[in-house]
């Protein structure tokens, strides 16, 4: 397997999801990622389980996010341990951390001091809300940032409470944004030798994520409203949304209303003009909802897909897993953790037709400390 980031060393002072998911992607692309953990307890994310699922002493969640990495334990308050950390920094290309503002300064590991040790370092700092302002010390937790960023007004229907995304979009996207800039900075470093300070926050990430909505809001000065029925995107007209059928659900994206009408034979739709599809979207969607209940998902797909209308069935994971369209992606891989096998997903990027797989499990706390120290000693002798 050709690994594009082979030889790159990443020190991950990060915990939970945002920073560690950046480290995971870099590891999958070939970087050597070393988690810097406190002795004994290790990273806080080890004890964070979802659905009470555990792999060993660490949660299945931790194993999902931290596979393919190594672990080096150090007490950042201990001068001797700090000597090792500084030696490691001397050999590293990238640092990521997601402590609250001020924490790395207190340890003497902020950018200005790290740069003294290694001027070419790409130093990446992820925060909840940036380093200034009234929220800088607030917990940088995903649901809270979804709630403050306005995002919860995009999902669900008009009469619903503000509704969050049921996944940690802020954490995940922030980590993914970081990867892009880390790679950009590594490219500049190759050319000029310069290091970089990269700073991003979950809040800025979620504002960028909503850039269509913000730009539209700046023009109209009006808060967008979710549609009352089958809301799919609050800025889009009917029929956009998910509808119930006789035996399941169907998703209908953008299309001229009369084209839809011609395919599903819904007489009541003829009364609406194309230019009313935004203004009257709830009325139109009510008509479509009633009509689609009269047939099965398959029957509607048969009428619409041959006309290249933008429709698809709504699948759950069990249904998806059986589809040939899923299987050919080879999205699953096995991780070998002693006598436990964990099935997880792989990196979503292909390069030269190759997918990136690694069966290496998440490390035990401090598993690689001695080995890394020995290698460093050789370097410094």
């Amino acid at each position: 397997m050709h690994l594009p980031l082979k030889g790159i060393v990443v020190l991950e002072f990060s915990q939970y999801l945002s920073g560690p998911c950046a480290g995971l992607r870099l590891a999958d692309l070939g970087a050597h990622v070393i988690k810097i953990e406190r002795p004994q307890k290790g990273e806080a994310g080890r004890k964070l389980a979802i659905k009470n699922l555990w792999a060993d002493e660490s949660s299945l969640l931790f194993h999902t996010i931290n596979r393919n990495k190594e672990s080096f334990t150090a007490d950042l308050g201990d001068p001797q341990d700090m000597q090792w950390i500084k030696r490691l920094i001397g050999q590293a290309d990238v640092i990521t951390h997601n402590f609250r503002p001020g924490v790395m300064e207190k340890k003497g590991l902020h950018y200005e001091s790290v740069k003294e040790i290694n001027p070419g370092i790409v130093y990446t700092e992820i925060s909840g809300y940036g380093n200034h302002g009234p929220w800088k010390n607030k917990p940088g937790q995903d649901l809270l940032i979804q709630s403050l960023s306005g995002l919860t007004h995009s999902t669900g229907n008009y009469h619903d409470n503000p509704l969050p995304f049921g996944l940690g979009i802020g954490d995940y996207l922030c980590g993914n944004q970081a990867v892009q800039f880390i790679l950009g900075a590594l490219i500049r470093k190759k050319k000029t030798g310069q290091g970089a300070l990269l700073q991003l926050s979950l809040m800025e990430t979620l504002i960028d994520f909503q850039f269509e909505f913000f730009t539209t809001y700046f023009q109209s000065k009006r808060q967008h409203k979710r549609s009352a029925i089958s809301n799919g995107h609050s800025l889009l007209s009917a029929p956009y949304g998910i509808y119930k059928t006789q035996d399941g659900y169907i998703a209908i994206a953008m299309m001229p209303l009369q084209k839809l009408n011609a395919a599903i034979d819904c007489e009541a739709l003829t009364q609406f003009e194309e230019e009313d599809t935004f203004k009257k979207r709830d009325e139109i969607k009510a008509v479509i909802s009633t009509h689609l209940l009269t047939g099965t998902t398959t029957s509607w797909l048969k009428k619409t897909q041959p006309l290249d209308l933008w429709v698809m069935p709504v699948l759950n994971w069990q249904e998806l897993k059986e589809k040939q369209g899923y299987k050919i992606l080879e999205m699953e891989q096995q991780i070998h953790l002693d006598d436990i096998e964990i099935t997880t997903t792989r990196c979503p990027v292909r390069i030269n037709g190759q997918i990136f797989l690694s069966g290496k499990p998440a490390p035990q706390v401090g598993q690689h400390t001695e080995h890394i120290k020995a290698a460093l000693s050789l370097k410094y002798e």
């Binding site: 913000f214 659900y249 994971w317 998806l320």
Partner: protein
Amino acid sequence: MSKLLEDILVLDFSQFLSGPYASLRLSDMGARVIKIERPVIGDICRTLYVSDVKIDGAESTIFHAINRNKESFVADIKDEDELEKIKKLIKKADILIHNFRPGVMQRVGLGYEAVKEINPTLIYAEISGYGEKGEWKGFPGQDLLLQSVSGIAYLSGNEADQPTPMGVAAGDILAGTHLVQGILAALFSRFNSGEGSLVQVSMLESLLDFQFEVLTCFLNDGYALPERSAVNNGHAYIAAPYGIYQTADGYIALAMGSITLLGQLLQCDLLYKYNEPTEWFDKRDEIKLILKEHLLTKKTKEWLHILEPADIWCSDVFDYDTLLKSDGYNVLDMEQMVYSGNKNIKTTRCPVRVDGEALKSDKGAPALGQDTLMIGKEFGL
């Protein structure tokens, strides 16, 4: 300090959102991005109007948000002379992006194998909906449809709700983000190998990766499907109190936290009996129902005054009207003005700071073909 992607030339054949979001980020990092557009119509996104908001009554706000800081070169790739010009440009380019359905670029003679002959160092990057093989390869790669197929619609909203899509084009934005990761990893690797690469991402793989934590639970937990909580669902896999609750005058978001501590702080006696942390997941609906009733009795601010000093993970829930008035938003300096022809358009900026500077550019989206002549002269086409 030079820009991260100084002197990098990107030819962007892509339309709508996924590919253009990738090239937007590359342009934020300092690359020069030339949109290759077909005559008369150009990128279809130019006329993709959302809601009833248009700039100057004609142009799509979305187009302007995604295509700031780019140039536009018009060419009819079905015309031989014009295709020759494109090939000359490709010789000079570092990166090519497209998001046509599989087979389209091959048919016009611009598939990877052909283009590699012209420029062996090129990074050729493509986004598809479902990959280039399999039953869905010819289907439209549209965001709502991909959300529906990928199982994501079963994560947001409450147990009794229909499948609920996320109300932002997550599939497009994530595929664009992953593509940039692949592009830059390949560009980095080019320093050693001297060779270009083919980088491929599909929206389906991107949305599966987005679900990597919860999909891993599914794959190792007997294929049990997600169960959204019946009350104020925030995340199908997370215990009470996680969710957004109505108060006497608005809403409050509560993330992870101890139910016993919450009971004491909120003076909610009914919560005292839930003193086993595992119950907070197993009995989350009854716990959340109690909280739901209780939180209605005071205003959001009053609850926050009680919970924040105790470091409970909570926050207000904002829409854009309230967010934009907050200091926490304004201190981020997320807005910028871009100039497009004689129009000034306010939009958001790139979410990452490099070397302490927010990345801004006041160059607006190009008019269709506005740079064709200049580029023709510059590259001797």
